[in-house]
Amino acid sequence: MKARIKNFFRYRFLLGELVKKGIKLKYRRSYLGILWSLLEPLLTMIVLTVVFGTLFGNNEKTFAVYVLAGRLLYSFFSQSTNAALKSIRGNSAMIKKVYVPKYLYPLSSILFNYVIFLLSLVVLALVSLVLGVYPNIYTLQVIVPLILILLLSFGAGMVLATVGVFFRDMEYLWSVILMLIMYTCAIFYYPDRLLNSGKGWLLKINPLYCIISCFRDGIFGEAMNMKMLLYAGGSSVLILLFGIWIFYKKQDEFILHI
């Protein structure tokens, strides 16, 4: 264990370099560069608000904030887990040639997406202020779901990276599963009708929905639902532990399969 921690510190500069590389290369050669991390969620928010707000009749002024908060968290989860899923196979040339602790590949994929995600929260802050959603003492709570989503994504990413090495189908399967997760996250609709219809468990068993819901409570300046927060925290930690366990169990076999 002590050796592992020492090894982690030895390679922390590489982790930083890999994260930097992910951020730098994501927007390299596009004219607006890193500005896209702000523009993209803003534009999607406008589209979603027009489609699901105006056309479907959610005319509340703050609907845009509601949509944007959900969409930001979901797109971080989907992009980072997708990147982690491909991280081992995508770096196969390097894995076959030099020794680098293998968890650095999924971890750096998650982290660089996290940095971009944190940056894009600026848009959420601005839109909230413009539409009259002002921060209060409860807003500070958002730190908890922001940490939980990182743990959840890293855990899921470790599982996916492991599975992805042995079954390539996972890349296609995961995009279908992500769609299912998206629809059970209540991103662009209010969950009340589903929750009151007796099928609320569809949402509540989804840890990502619970994280998004807690995050929204914070943004709208309300106290969080403690039961939901505990469930989100518990399931995220469980998935993380499972991810680390399966990754460590299987990592020595990776090289024989890529």
């Binding site: 030895r10 390679y11 500069f13 590489l14 930083g16 370099e17 890999l18 590389k21 730098k24 290369l25 390299r28 040339a93 390097m94 894995i95 076959k96 040639k97 030099v98 020794y99 680098v100 079954f167 390539r168 189908d169 399967l173 020595d252 090289i255 024989l256």
Partner: protein, 245 residues
């Protein structure tokens, strides 16, 4: 002399060569149910055992497919041995696959930091040695150009310059260094020789007995993953001569 640098302890390496490539879950399930998953076991290394002390230079001889490169990769830590263990002490410079970890969209300067990090250098170390790396590689003019525009010789020069900037205790070489043009080759050989003079421990893989005799003071013969001979250069060289004749 004397200090133990590398200890290879009963190392065996098994590969499962699956007869058919199974790439999908569906295929896997069908084959699993029909019990059709077969693997050909292939032992690339069998019970390899040796220690190297400071200043010893080991030449690893053998024909194609004898397991030479696999042994180097096990020692470098890329492969984890199926059985046995490898202990290493000190800073290791594996000149195996120069530039593994280079990113083609990154510039030369960015790649120095990236590849340096891959090799386990610290940021302050690279900051300090940056100019030395650039001037040794002779790429001053191209250091801010993306790597995809480099010729293969330029990439190799940059890789060599980064990998050899440390003062290693253990040097791992696969075949002779044929990096870049004749002028750079001379320069890189000189650099490797300087390391030899400092008493570095060397692992050197080659087909060529002549090169091993020139560079090494110990030798080993591998055949189909077995260690046929190990010991003093002269004795082993004689044995190898008999094998290849």
């Amino acid at each position: 002399m004397g200090k133990e640098m590398i200890k290879v302890d009963h190392v065996s390496m098994k590969f499962n060569l699956s007869q058919e490539k199974i790439d999908s879950i569906k295929e896997y399930f069908i084959k699993f149910v029909k019990r059709e998953i077969k693997y050909d076991e292939f032992w690339a290394l069998k019970d390899i055992n040796f220690t190297l002390n400071r200043g010893e230079r080991l030449g690893i001889l053998g024909l194609n497919g004898a397991g030479k490169s696999t042994l180097l990769k096990v020692i470098a830590g890329v492969f984890k041995p199926t059985e046995g263990s490898v202990a290493r002490h000190g800073v290791m410079a594996p000149l195996l696959e120069l530039g593994a970890g280079f990113d083609m969209q990154y510039t030369g300067a960015e790649n120095i930091y990236l590849y340096g990090a891959v090799l386990g250098y610290s940021k302050s170390f690279i900051d300090e040695k940056f100019d030395e790396i650039v001037s040794f590689s002779e790429l001053q003019k191209f250091i801010d150009v993306p790597l995809k525009n480099y010729s293969s010789g330029m990439k190799a020069r940059l890789g060599f310059s980064i990998a050899t900037i440390v003062a290693p205790d253990i040097l791992i070489l696969d075949e002779v260094l044929s990096v870049g043009d004749a002028k750079f080759r001379k320069k890189s050989e000189k650099k490797v020789m300087e390391m030899f003079d400092k008493g570095v421990t060397v692992l050197f893989v080659s087909h060529s007995l002549e090169q091993v005799e020139r560079l090494c003071n110990k030798a080993m013969i591998l055949e189909h993953g077995n260690m046929l001979a190990y010991g003093d250069l002269k004795e082993v060289a004689q044995k190898y001569r008999k094998i290849i004749e």
